[in-house]
Each structure stands twice: as C-alpha cells, then as structure tokens.
Symmetry: D2
C-alpha cells in the first residue's frame, strides 16, 4: 500500500457496539472530505470486509449521525476472519477497492484483527478505541465509556428508590469484562456502600462488616463488576446467603449499558479521535491505536494497547473507601 497520497480511506466498526461510534464515523468521513480523501464504509465489520460490502460515503450520509447510538455501519463478531484464508479474502477486497488506509473502531478483538492485517499484508491501519469497557491502554477514555457509566448510574438511581423504600440490600452487576473501570466510576457516583472490582479480590468478610455498619441507613447498594472472583451479582448474593444467611436482591444491568445517545464527552472524544485517525494515516502511522491522554492525541502500538493494563486511579479507591 501507498501512503504517498491517500486517496481512499475505509472505516468500519467491529465487536460490541458502543455509543459514539456513529459520531466517530461522522468525524472520519468529514475529515476525509476536508483532506480531499474519499471515505469508504465497510458494512458489518470484518465480515463485511471479507464479503466486499464497501460503500462510498458522503457528507449527507453523516447528517444527524452524531447523536445516534449503535453503529450505522453495523458490527459483527466474525469467525472466518480468525483464519488466514479469511483475512486473505479481506485483504483482496481492500486491494480491489483500492483502499489506501483503514480505520478500525472497536475493542481488543478488533485490534488483534487489525494487527494481523498489518503483519500479514502490510495494510496501513489505525485502530480507534470503541468500547464501553475503557480497558485499553493508550487512551484515557474509550469511546462509549462515559455514556455507559451515566446510563448505569441513572438506572441505579432508579433502583435506589426501591432499595430505599424497602430498606433492602441490592447487589448490582455492571459491565466491564475483566476491568473494573465501569464499576468503580458507577460505584462512586451512586454512593455505593461497597464496590467490587476484578482488579482486587473481593473480601467478603469486609463486605459483610460494611453491610452491618450500614444497616442503620436503611438500604445498601453494592456494585459489582463482572469478571472478578465472584463472577457476577448472582454468585455474590448466594455467597452472602450461604456464609451469613443474609438476604440480598441482585440485578444485572445488562445490555441497556451499551445503547443510547452518546454523552457530550463521548461525542467530542469520538470526533477528536476521528480526526486523529485520518491524520495519523496521512502521516504514515500504522499498526497503532489512536487515543487521547490529557488532551493530547497519542499513537500507541496496537499490541501494547490490548496487552498493557490501564490501572484504576489510586484516588478512586481512596474515594470509594472514604465516602462509602
């Protein structure tokens, strides 16, 4: 591939959808147009790349997209792309449609695929962090995270009405795969009495003590991120019953955390990274993720982006202890 002069840049979304993906696609399209590049959309992620679902995009396509949840380019989890022959087909289509550079928006699965395209076929590819989990290294936030924590908080504010009215103990499971970013932010913002994150082994005895201390306050909210020692809210609820004969209600927030109109932060971040991705390709970047750390655009090697661990800030643990 030739980056001397980018003529066509293709963009696609892959893996779990995240609010802000459409704002991101819009920014890629408009930046391309402003730079004299033809923007191409690949429909259905890697599957669409294999099947040749390529479409030229224009400004009209992007009208009002900034506020829409989900992704208009659709997404998929594609088994065929995990095979060498699948990736070969995908590459053949990139060549056939004369794509000079590719922007891949998604999470770590997406990044592994992008890295393979670079390794095997020398594709010019820049990935962008589109996942609500915020579990990628090289960016302060991922696209979708801010919306997801606000959606979860709003839902838990509702549950708190019920918890208050009944004086109940509620265990609420939020998303996050193997990272506690969502749980930690949501736990602090809902004033949870206990926050269980995968990064730290849950001390059930301490949790029980905390609940006992709190009982005067008529209700208790416990936030648990999926993927820790206790795989979910259900397991923790059973454990508390078994060990201490404690009655708790549990609820799994589930898929509502993914959708909805993106927050301002997500729209602006998604726009900024869209500009950063196009300009990265123009400047010869490849095999990298474009992220933003403290207002600065950063390009991080793809392998680092999914391998290195982004830590939860120390002060978040401190706040969760102090204010619970």
């Amino acid at each position: 591939m030739n980056i001397q002069k980018m003529k066509k840049i293709a963009v696609f979304t892959s893996g779990g959808d995240a609010p802000g993906m459409n704002a991101h696609i819009r920014a890629v399209v408009r930046t391309c147009l402003a730079r004299g590049i033809e923007p191409i959309g690949i429909y259905g992620g890697y599957e669409g790349m294999i099947n040749g679902n390529f479409l030229s995009l224009n400004r009209n396509f992007t009208v009002n997209m900034i506020s829409q949840g989900g992704t208009v380019l659709k997404t998929s989890r594609c088994e065929e792309f995990k095979t060498k022959s699948g990736r070969k087909k995908a590459y053949e289509n990139l060549k056939k449609f004369e794509i000079d550079g590719v922007i891949a928006c998604g999470g770590d699965g997406t990044f592994k695929g992008a890295h393979a395209l670079y390794e095997e076929f020398n594709v010019n590819i820049v990935a962008t962090p589109g996942t609500i989990d915020n579990d990628l290294y090289g960016t302060y936030y991922t696209i979708g995270f801010d919306t997801a924590i606000n959606t979860a908080t709003e839902a838990i504010d509702r549950i708190r009405d019920t918890a208050d009215s009944h004086g109940r103990i509620f265990i609420i499971e939020v998303m996050g795969r193997h990272a506690g970013h969502i749980a930690m932010d949501v736990g602090i913002s809902t004033g949870a009495e206990f926050i269980a994150v995968p990064e730290v082994e849950t001390d059930v005895e301490e949790l029980y003590r905390r609940i006992q201390n709190m009982r005067e306050h008529t209700r208790t909210i416990i936030i648990i991120g999926e993927g820790g020692v206790f795989l979910g809210a259900n397991e923790l609820s059973l454990e508390l019953k078994k060990r201490y004969n404690l009655e708790t209600k549990y609820t799994v927030l589930g898929h509502i955390q993914r959708g909805g109109t993106p927050s301002v932060k997500d729209r602006v971040l998604a726009s900024h990274l869209g500009m950063g991705a196009v300009d990265g390709l123009i400047n010869g970047k490849t095999d990298v993720m474009v992220g933003r750390i403290y207002d600065k655009i950063k390009y991080t090697p793809l392998v680092e982006a999914w391998r290195k661990k982004k830590k939860i800030k120390e002060y978040m643990f401190e706040l969760s202890e102090l204010l619970a």
Copy 2:
C-alpha cells in the same frame, strides 16, 4: 370508628413501591389539610402499623415530593400482619392514635390486608392502586404504570441500538406478574416483532415463523411479560435453541422498571386519587378501592378489585399483529 367527623386520617404505602406514591401521599396530606383533617403517616406499611410508627404530617413535609420516585413513608412485606394477632396489634395502634380513617396505597396484597382490617375491626379504610403492574380491576390505570412502561421503553430503545448494530434477536422480559399490561404497551411502543403475554398461550411455532419473516430487517425484538407459559426470557430463549437451534440474546429488565421520577400521567392520577381517597372517607366509603375510569372517580369493593380481571383492550392485540 366514627366518620361523623373525620379528625385524623392515616396514610401508608405497602408492597412493591411504585413511582407516584409520593405524589399520592402529598395529595392526601394537602387534601386533608384543606378539609381540616390532621394527616398522619404510618412508616413502613403494615409493619409500621403493628409497631406504632405513626407521625403527624404537615405541608412542609410534602414540598418537592411530587417528583420523587419510591415512597418516603417506606414500604414492606409483613409476615406478622398475616396473622390475626398481628392485625390486632395494628388495630390497637389505630385506636391509640385516634385514627378515624385509613388510606392504604399498594397492590393486591395490600388490599387483602385492608379488607381484613375492615372485616375484623370495622376500620374505615380506602385503598388506592399503587403498583406498576396495572393488574387491578376498577381503575383504568394504576399509579406507577405509565412511568414503568416509559422506563422500559427507554431501556429497550437502547437495547435496539445494539440489536440493530449486530442484527441480533433479543428477547426482553418486562415486569407484570401475571398480567400482560406492561408487556403489551411496551411491545407496541418499541415496535416489537412479537409480544408474549400471560393472557395468551405463546405459540412458539408462530413466533418462529414471525422471526423467519423478519430476518431481512436485520434485528428482531421480542417482548415477554413474566408469568406466562414461558416463565421468562431465559426459558423462551432456551426453547428456541432447543426446537429450532436459533441463537437469541435475552435480558431481564428487572428493578429499574420500578423507580425513577414519575411521569405526568402518574403524578396527576396519583394526585386525583389522593383527593378521591380523602373525600371518599369523608363521605363514608370503606372497604373500597378508589380508581379512575374515563375521568370519573370510581369506588370498587376491595374484593372485586383484586379478584376481577382487567382485560387488555382488544385493539392492542390488533395493533400488535398489524404493526409488528
């Protein structure tokens, strides 16, 4: 008890909380004050009645209450009240605090308790329909129903973003105990491809056919009310897998449907029924539920309110077929 002149009216909430309960309490308090009656709050439902948690309420108590979810008087599910001796204690407290009339806000469990108080101790008692399920006879809507269906719809609009992005089939379980009112309204308002209500046996074959026909449209939303043949979304998902090897995602909306700030409809209805309850007691009504049907306040014998079945309107079934 003496209704010649009501001097003190007590109000409490019981069973599952519902949005609008606070608007209702506010209306009871303010109507009492306007009628020269002292309003008394009983904290914690029947449990509070047994324990003597009675408190005099005033106008200041009700400031800004109209928009709050849950119930500031708290609620409970009380085992002791199911015994004769428990109810005796409760009655003794009503006497001790010189309560002339009682307003009980809740669902069918609450109503059974209220009816027993009337039967056994001749308590002047008017019940008000406070439940999101809308499953009580004698009122067009129950307090909380309109908020719950809007909350559920908003949540499903979010899930649809994900369903669209992935082209997935989603089975979403909403509340409703043994009535399909929530499922039906939410199903139509989210444009669901299939709505399964407890009132009608779910025809899985028909459901499968419907899904097959819809596949061109990239995603399918199925709304299921709890309490039908398939007890929930999980069971239906497993059945579709077993019978047709069909992959579906399921999600249970759960407790988020209960909380939150009440909708305008719920605030106005709760206010209207508050006035109707106080004025009913003043006019000698007892052992009844106050409801509203087509803008008219109606008093229905408590036994009918929970025994008779409120049907889903025929046109709702028609719409669900026609527009799916």
Copy 3:
C-alpha cells in the same frame, strides 16, 4: 375519486411538528401494506403536494421510525396552498399520482387545508390530530401532547432545583397557543403554586396573595400558558414588578417542548390513529378527523374538530386549587 377499492393512500405531515408523527406514518404505511394498499409519502406537507414530491413507501422505510422525534416526511407552513390556484396544483398532483385517499396529520391549519381539498375537489381525506397543543375537538389527546407535557415537566423539575436553592419566584411559560391544556397538566405535575391558563382571566391580585402565602416555602413556581391575558411570562413578570414591586425570574421553555422521542402514550395513540385513518378511508370516511375518546375511535367532521372547543376537565381546576 373512487373508494370502491383504495389502491394508493398518501400521507403527509403539516404545520408544527409533534413527537409521534413518525410513529403515525409508520402505522399508516404498515396498515396500508396489510390491507393491500400502496402507501405514498408526500414530502414537505402542502408545499410538497403542490410540487409533486410523492414517493412510494415500504416496510423498510419504517424500521426504527417509531421512536424518532420530528417527522421524516418533513413539514412546512405553505402560503401558496392558501390560494385556490395552489390547491388546484396540489389536486392535479393527487390525480397524476392516482391517489385514492389522503391522510393529513397536523393541527387546525392543516385541517382547514384538508377541508378545502374535500370541498373544492371532492378529495377523500381523513385528518389526524398531530399537535402538542391538544386543542382539537373530537379526540381526548392529540399526538405529541403527552410527550410535550413530560418534556416540559422534566425541564421545570430542573428549574425547581435552582428556584429552591435561591428561594426564588419563577414564572415559566409553556406552549399551548390559545389553549391551557399543556399549562394545566404541567402545572399540576410540577406542583406549581399558580397556573395561569388562557381559558380563565388571570387574577393578578389572587396570584399575589398566593405568592405571599407561599413565601414560607422558600420558592414559588408559576406556570403560564401562552395566549392568555398576559401574553407570556415576560409580561406577567413586569406586571408583578409594576403593581407590587415583586422580583421574579421568568423563562420561556420554547421549542424544546416540540422535539424528542415520543412517550409510550404518544406512540400507541399515533399507531392506533394510523390504523383508524386507513380503515376510515377504506370505509368511505372523508372530510373527518379520526380521534380517540375513551378507547374508541371516533370520526368527527373536520369543521367541528377545529371550531368546537375542548374544555379542560373540571377536576383539573379543582386539583390545581387544592394541591397548590
């Protein structure tokens, strides 16, 4: 025109947009398809009818439309249509595109145009009430009203945070043209201390007395519907300053009341009226508005729909006095 067998039905939206218009269009399209009729969309209201912007619609067109605010068929206020020659052009297009029946969604201006088409050219036309103002006779609610009052209430709940924090008097103007339906519902649901509707002359002295009585409660909310004696919040604020030297803040909610995703009520009503409009045309109805009163579809002569006055329910005035 021939109603023996409707082959093509055209639908359009006109005047101010209202949430639920898209749900309505969706229902018209799907009902047409179910009845074997080709649905045609006219873009841009009467202007589009004059310019021949007709497009055949299909099921795909309606996917996910149920939750969208505004109207995808666009709308306009068209001066040319107010002339005979303009209407002639419009009619010629209806003939040219072989339209057998027309569904016109909008408010009283739209209805007058529809009535003229019937009077002058014998067009088979059924109008549907699409306006947030709820000021049309022959239907309990208009499409958009329920969403508008919820949007306004949510906005005022926010303002109340500020009013409370400062102990201020806020005069808030809501929409409604010359009808107080929005003001009344919003006033009760926000617990306003005073509600001024165009239907009743505002008693400024009484208002002042009310404010004085309320001062202990730290803040006062006054809701005013546009179009009364005081044309708006600004005028009332000035009057209170002039007469009593009373400082008040005023705010005009404005266009935010029109947009947004429709509420469940509006989606279901819009769907129901869509079915009712198509089936009305099939059954030979013309020059009527299709409305719903107490769950029953009603066809009201167009002239009555805009001339007769829909009154605010008595109990709403009673509640506004009692609970303020």
Copy 4:
C-alpha cells in the same frame, strides 16, 4: 484561627447553583467525619454566615444527596457581605461557632468574598469551583459544567427534530457568562454549523456564507454563547435579518441548564474536590481554590483563580471548523 488541630469545618454554597454541589457537600461532610472533624453547614451562603444560620451536619444528612440537583444548603447573592461591616458580622459568627476552617463552593463572586475573609480576618478558607460556566483558572473542569453541557445538548437534540422537520435555521443561546466553554462543547456535540463564542469576534459575513453552503442539508443549527459581541441569540437573529434578510428562529435555553441530577463526571469531581478541600485545610492551605488538573489535585491562589483566563483548547476550534 488555629489549624494545629481542625475541630470544626464549615461548608457553604454561594452564587448560582450548580449540579454536583450536593455531592460536594456530602463529600466534605464524610471526609470531615472520617478525619475526626465536626462538619458544620452554613445555610444560604454569605447571607447565612452573616445571620448565623449554622448547623451541625452528620452522616444521615448526606444520604442520597449525591444524586440531587441544586444545593440543600441553599445559596444567595448577598449585598451586605460586600460591605466591611457585613463581613465583620460574618467573621464574628465564624468565631462564635468556633469554626477552624471554611469551605466556600461557588464561582468568582464567591471567591472574592472568600479572599476578603482571609485578607481581613485571616480566616482559613479553601474555595471550590462550583459553577456550570467552567470559567475558573486552576481546574480542568468546574463542578456542574459536565451536567450543563449534557443538559443543553439533550435540549438541542430535541430542537433539531423541529429544525429538521421544517428545514429551519435555529440560533440557540447557551449560558457561559463571558466564557465560551459551554458553547464550544455543546456546539461540537450537537454538530452545530456555526459556534459563536465570546473569546472570538463573530464574523457575521463568514456565518452567512456558512449558512448558504449548508442550505442543501435542510437545517442549520447555530450555537451562541452569551456575552460575546452579539449579546445573545435575539441580537444575532435581528442582525441576520437586517443584513441579509435571512429568516431565523432563536431560542434561549435559560435556567434549565442549571438544574437536574448531576452527571457521573460531576459527582466524582465534586467528591474528589470535597476530599481535597478538607485535606487542604488540614494541611494549612488557605486563600486558595482546590481544583483538579489531569487527575491531580491543585491548589491555586484565589486571586489567580478568577483573574487568569482559562483558554478553550485549540483542538476544539479545529474540530468546530473541520466537522461543521
């Protein structure tokens, strides 16, 4: 005053209210309790300080406060405090109630008062940035800003439905006093065609050209921050009419931008700064604002906080050009 050992810390809110102030008060109270300090609330800002409205706070006071808009400690704009004798009274009360340190949450007016208390009476005082305008130096964000931009964006998303439906040009005025932070973030997140901020002189000719170019896209959204060359949306609308005979609609978002439940960002920031303020006082800080920049707590001299100008990031201007 003696900081050897803080025994009592007083907290108050002043000036315009902002979402997150309650989360902040909660954090101050709980941090005090964890550090063995008695937290005191001053009601009604500087006015309350003058009048001696001091109240001891406890943990129960803070239950569920984290999600509430406005400020439970009330706020005011106090003329008397601008006089030396007023401040003397305030100081006497601080002495009388044995306050060792004070936390003042508000904007620049609040800061000036706090600085005067330090200068004249050597009060140990730390200010915290509580204002939606984000116009204070020494902190990346102020408490309330993130909520305000999300509220404004949500409102404008609604207006866009109407703008789209009619193909209209809308000029929307957002808050911000003399800083364009709100306008810039909101403008980018709503995909505005033009953003007018006080920091840059509005080029009306360029604006007109931009509008002309956009007309193909059926609607135009222009965001204007108050306090620029054109003092508001109304003036700009008139100017466009005068110069180019261009019809536009304008709307002023107004007070809805202040209220509502705070966003996650605002809750977490408010909590963090609450901890930072208490710990600052304990460590001898005074006459400073506590802010957060890039995850680090920073103490900035009060005079700098309101005198130095916080600039809008360069990339925001770039994005607003590129993506409009």
